[in-house]
């Protein structure tokens, strides 16, 4: 199982990377894309919208199922990866390179409560 050590994770299978400029990049984990199968559609939030932690902010759909994406922490959307709308398979090819959106945190303290790599790995293993 691929779980990079430098990222944070949610129990809804998003990954979070803290960028040097203070924003965070968000995507779905390798495990999530593996469960979903071939992705065919990505719906990202609009730039400028704000979300509270845990709010639905996007959708990924595979041939098999649709899955909501939740804001891992509260914040404002400052960028979205438009490349994914025409090439959603990039998430299957490299889930940790295919970021979906960038978020400017309103409460950076929320980052501390997210799962680290070993916590996420345990969660996935417990799922069987």
């Amino acid at each position: 199982m691929t779980v990079p050590a430098d990222l944070k994770y949610t129990d809804t299978h998003e990954w979070i990377r803290q960028e040097p400029d203070g924003v965070v990049s968000v995507g779905i984990t390798h495990h999530a894309q593996d469960l979903l199968g071939d992705l065919v559609y990505v719906e990202n939030p609009a730039v400028g919208k704000t979300f509270k932690q845990g709010q639905e902010c996007g959708v990924v759909e595979s041939v098999k199922a649709a899955s909501d994406i939740y804001a891992p922490i509260s914040g404002e959307i400052v960028a979205v990866n438009d490349e994914l709308s025409s090439a959603p398979e990039k998430i299957n090819q490299d889930a940790y390179a295919a970021w979906m959106f960038k978020l400017k945190p309103t409460n950076p303290g929320e980052l501390n409560a997210l799962l680290d790599a070993s916590g996420y790995r345990k969660l996935v293993e417990a799922d069987g």
């Binding site: 199968g37 071939d38 065919v40 559609y41 719906e43 959708v59 759909e61 041939v63 098999k64 649709a66 709308s85 398979e89 299957n92």
Partner: protein, 364 residues
């Protein structure tokens, strides 16, 4: 429900190839071997194969076999005059509901083989046995769990099959669609569920692994049930349990063409099919917006409401397509709205199939 899942003779092959396995009608079957979309394209462009050994062959033999099947099935097996000919049919309940859809092969005088769906196999066997008792037909019923079935599909399917089983070529080269020929212990049929050319091969379970490996060696891609579903949907072929079941008639399921009403033949369900007014029709949908049509989504139009029975993303067309129950007044060219996750998205009504032999059939 903790009944252990059943496994086909090719189960170990699927595991060896790294398949993602899934429960399909009580069987542990490959969903895909990595990428369902790649497997789909392999079948459209080249050749792929599917383990369909979960389907059940039932041999119906004896002097009363033809008369029995003429009563049992909505299509008329009297059309099967030449050995090897195959016929697609529904098997109906007395109220006209669809119990299953199946293919009947004519194996010779008083010898037929039915191939039924995996999920309905036990129910079908019980139903057929009951009709057999009631009609007191002189037949023998033999479920063939000793057989495996491999579908080889795609523009290169036949040539790859001949490459690994050259002795079958002379026997199968002249087969037309819906014709089969026995080749040693195999029955090779020019049938399929993908909208492409190819063969479905029934053979004894102990020979299945060798054929599977030989085809793999000849460059035929192992394909899972995921690709099988998108291929059959593009080809406009119904899936039992989604597009039709016991609650609907063949008329309501786009299968009127399979019900043979000629003459006075008294098949089970005939009266109901003649008298029951259809409530809806099955038509195709093409989603005009981003998203994916899926079964059970609700839809609305000025003519009334409806429901998606099968929906997915079409890898060949690059957009989402579906089969749907629509009001009887609905026509191809109309627009309807589909409730996709709380939003009403626009879809166009079209005739199906959507794709045939690798080419889009959608109106330009």
């Amino acid at each position: 429900m903790s009944t252990p899942l059943k496994r086909t003779p090719l189960y170990e092959e699927h595991v060896r190839l790294g398949a993602r396995l899934t429960d399909f009608g009580g069987w542990e079957m490959p969903l895909h071997y990595g990428s369902q979309i790649d497997e789909h394209h392999r079948v459209r462009r080249e050749a792929g194969m599917f383990d369909v050994s979960h389907m059940l062959a039932i041999d119906v033999e004896g002097p009363g076999a033809q008369e029995f099947l003429r009563r049992l099935l909505a299509n008329d097996v009297e059309k099967l005059k030449q050995t090897g000919k195959a016929l697609y049919s529904c098997m109906l309940a007395a109220d006209g509901g669809v119990l299953d859809d199946l293919i009947t092969y004519y194996l010779g005088p008083a010898r037929f083989r039915l191939v039924v769906n995996a999920g309905t196999a036990d129910k079908d066997l019980a139903w057929i046995a009951r009709q057999h008792v009631e009609l007191a037909s002189e037949i023998g019923l033999r479920p063939r769990r000793d057989l495996a079935m491999i579908a080889v599909q795609g523009p290169q399917a036949r040539s790859r099959f001949w490459q690994v089983r050259p002795d079958t070529r002379a026997l199968t080269e002249a087969l037309r669609a819906f014709e089969a020929a026995p080749c040693g212990d195999m029955l090779v049929a020019r049938t399929g569920y993908t909208g492409e050319d190819g063969f479905e091969v029934m053979l004894s379970a102990q020979n299945a692994v060798a054929l599977w490996r030989d085809l793999l060696g000849a460059g035929v891609a192992a394909c899972g049930l995921g690709a099988r579903d998108t291929l059959r949907l593009e080809a406009g072929m119904s899936l039992y349990g989604q597009d039709m079941d016991e609650s609907v008639t063949p008329i309501e399921s786009g299968l009127t063409w399979t019900v043979d009403m000629r003459g006075e033949r008294d098949f089970i369900g005939r009266r109901a099919v003649q008298t029951r007014a259809p409530r809806f029709q099955l038509l195709g949908l093409v989603l005009r917006e981003k998203g994916v049509l899926r079964s059970h989504q609700q839809l609305r139009s000025p003519h009334g409401s409806g429901e998606v029975t099968s929906g997915s993303f079409s890898p060949t067309l690059g957009q989402s397509i579906a089969l749907a129950r629509l009001p009887l007044e609905q026509r191809p060219g109309d627009s309807v709205e589909v409730d996709i996750r709380g939003r009403w998205l626009q879809a166009g009504v079209v005739r199906y199939p959507f794709v045939r032999m690798g080419k889009s059939l959608l109106p330009a």
